[in-house]
């Protein structure tokens, strides 16, 4: 009886020890699996991220890059399969799927990791102020630049001008202080500063003509001569338009057209000549003109060109916020430059709600000189893109006192087919 009792006790102990051994083995096994998982996840992610880095470089150098001849890259015991696609909306999408296999303690472990990103062309209208050539002038204490700023040359500051958006330059910044009574060199970059950043200044008029030809509206003289086009936008979503051969004085009889049918994609383009603009915009449009040599390629503002509702709401003095009631958007493109006409309508302020693109100059005033009368304030609520700054007023009061406020909607949205750079920017990166 005593022997049997001992045997029962021992078997009981053995069972308990077996459970302990099982749990211990499980603990060891789980730890090994976690280690293997951590290692292969790290490696798989590194491989996918490497493939994404490589692809980003290739796409930045060549926006039309569609991948290598072999779409599988091998690295550190794993591989990445890369895929580049370019959807119809001109964005490029990249996807890298990495697979990493690993043997540990006689067992095979496998892990997949993905990195994908989306590139889009940088649209010029996202800048509050873009100037290709800055020149030798200074931004000085008291100047405030609203929205993102960029120049392809060196920016000169004197004293402490304020930049409310991010500042980028290709050739750096020259900060000058304690000169002409402007105080120490201390420009304020509220949105940060980065250099060197390259955003080349280009205008593809053929692309705009193509877009206007397929669903938009193209103006061109039947004989191929330069053509002047006059557009007056009405708040009821109509436009009153007339034309004349450039260099002549008599305009055709104005025609009122419903903008829905006049241009279905919102682009109105004069193939070569000048454009005369005014009115109240209801909808989203891009209007512009190419040059045909000589004194063409200009957009003349004959009066205010504004949205039904101001895109900005003014709060606490000069501070602005986006007006949620404003749904209209206008892009104005001049292959030469935008000119404010010196006429009776413009001699008492001018209001411009638009993204202005001046490819061969900047916004200016017709016949501006220091002996001109004071014309009040030029208010630009939108975005100003120009090759180089032009004179709009003088310190003696001649011309305009210029105020430029950035329409923050342009950060995420643009007028239809508004010019974009030839390079890409990364708009999303997921890993």
């Amino acid at each position: 009886m005593g022997g049997k009792a001992i045997l029962i006790v021992v078997i009981s102990f053995s069972l308990m020890f077996t459970v302990v051994k099982y749990n211990s083995s499980n603990t060891s096994s789980n730890a090994a699996e976690r280690l293997a998982s951590y290692y292969i996840k790290t490696n798989a992610h590194n491989i996918a991220a490497s493939a994404a880095n490589i692809a980003a470089n290739e796409l930045f150098r060549d926006p039309n890059w569609s991948g290598f001849s072999q779409d599988t890259l091998y690295m550190n015991g794993g591989y990445a399969v890369i895929s580049v696609s370019k959807p119809a909306n001109a964005k490029a999408k990249f996807d890298a799927k990495a697979v990493y296999k690993f043997f540990y303690a006689g067992e095979e472990f496998s892990e997949e990791s993905r990195v994908n990103f989306v590139l889009n062309a940088t649209n010029y209208s996202r800048f509050g102020y873009y100037t290709n050539v800055w020149g030798s002038g200074y931004l000085v204490t008291g100047d405030t630049i609203d929205g993102p700023f960029h120049t392809q040359t060196k920016l000169n500051t004197l004293g402490s001008p304020v930049f409310l958006g991010k500042v980028t330059t290709k050739q750096g910044i020259n900060m000058v202080g304690n000169k002409y009574g402007f105080g120490p060199a201390n420009p304020e970059f509220k949105g940060g500063y980065e250099t060197p950043v390259d955003v080349p200044f280009t205008l593809n008029t053929s692309a705009l003509l193509g877009v206007a030809s397929t669903g938009g509206r193209v103006f061109q003289h039947p004989s191929g001569s330069n053509l002047d086009v006059r557009l007056h936008f009405n708040a009821d979503e109509t436009v009153e338009w007339s034309t004349r051969k450039t260099g002549t004085s008599s305009w055709s009889t104005p025609i009122v057209a419903d903008l829905d049918t006049f241009t279905t994609n919102g682009v109105i383009w004069n193939k070569k000549g000048n454009l005369y603009l005014s009115g109240t915009v209801n909808g989203k449009y891009t209007v512009g003109t190419a040059k045909g040599g000589g004194s063409t390629g200009y957009v003349y503002l004959e009066d205010d060109i504004v949205y039904r509702k101001d895109p900005l709401k003014f709060v606490n003095g000069g501070t602005t916020i986006t007006n949620p009631d404003c749904e209209d958007m206008l892009g104005i493109i001049a292959e030469k430059q935008v000119v404010v006409k010196d006429n009776a309508a413009n001699r008492d302020d001018i209001n411009i709600h638009a993204a202005l693109f001046n490819y061969d100059g900047g916004i200016t005033v017709e016949g501006i000189s220091s002996s001109k009368p004071n014309m009040g304030t030029m208010r630009i609520h939108g975005s100003l893109i120009e090759n180089s700054a032009q004179t709009t007023g003088y310190t003696n009061g001649a011309g305009y006192h210029q105020v430029i406020k950035y329409d923050k909607r342009y950060r995420n949205s643009t007028p239809p087919s508004f010019p974009a750079t030839t390079s890409y920017e990364i708009v999303s990166w997921f890993e």
């Binding site: 022997g3 001992i6 280690l35 290692y39 490497s50 060197p196 950043v197």
Partner: protein, 189 residues
């Protein structure tokens, strides 16, 4: 106690001894395995940390921020970049804290427990008891357009690959050398 009971008792004791020995062996194995895992995970983390540190630096000495002017150059041509045989720290970058670009980590060797921003670029304290891990890194150019194995090339490209090797006498047989790699490519926004 008769003979039968004696035999049963002895069999029981043999069984108990066998089970105890087996459990003991298993416990030792588990402890050893857990310890190895701890060092292996620590080793992977050290390698990852070094890669992340290198990625936080500029792509090349040419594109690094100039401490005097506060500005950086933008590399437009491959000839702007460091030549393939010169990858590594310059004479002014003896210490890790002075590394300002990715390829300064080429040839970097250190013992992890003593690693710090003041470590020298080629400082391995073999005789140091605290030197548990040996961390080595190599940086070289790769050319994915001609070689999908991403091997070292002897010319300049826009892609630099970093290999990090972590070894230790405490790493187990399953993972005796930890190898991590990542490619840093130059692209500007």
């Amino acid at each position: 106690m008769n003979t039968g009971q004696m035999i049963i008792t002895m069999a029981a004791m043999i069984l108990l001894s066998t089970v105890i020995l087996s459990v003991n062996k298993n416990a030792l194995n588990t402890t050893s395995s857990m310890t190895e895992n701890k060092y292996q995970i620590l080793g992977i983390s050290l390698g990852t940390a070094l890669i992340e540190e290198a990625f936080s630096k500029s792509f090349d000495a040419y594109t690094a921020l100039n401490p005097i002017t506060g500005e950086a150059e933008q590399a437009d041509n491959l000839s702007d970049l460091t030549n393939y045989y010169s990858l590594g720290p310059s004479n002014l970058e003896k210490k890790r804290r002075n590394f300002n670009d990715f390829d300064d980590y080429n040839g970097f060797v250190d013992s992890a427990s003593n690693a710090s921003v003041d470590s020298l670029s080629s400082e391995m304290r073999n005789n140091d008891i605290a030197a548990i891990f040996k961390v080595e890194s190599k940086v070289y150019y790769v050319d994915p357009s001609t070689d999908n194995k991403l091997k070292k090339v002897n010319y300049r490209t826009w892609h630099k690959r970093m290999d990090v090797l972590v070894t230790s006498r405490y790493l187990g047989d399953g993972l005796d050398t930890i190898k991590l790699s990542k490619i840093y490519s130059y692209f500007f926004y």
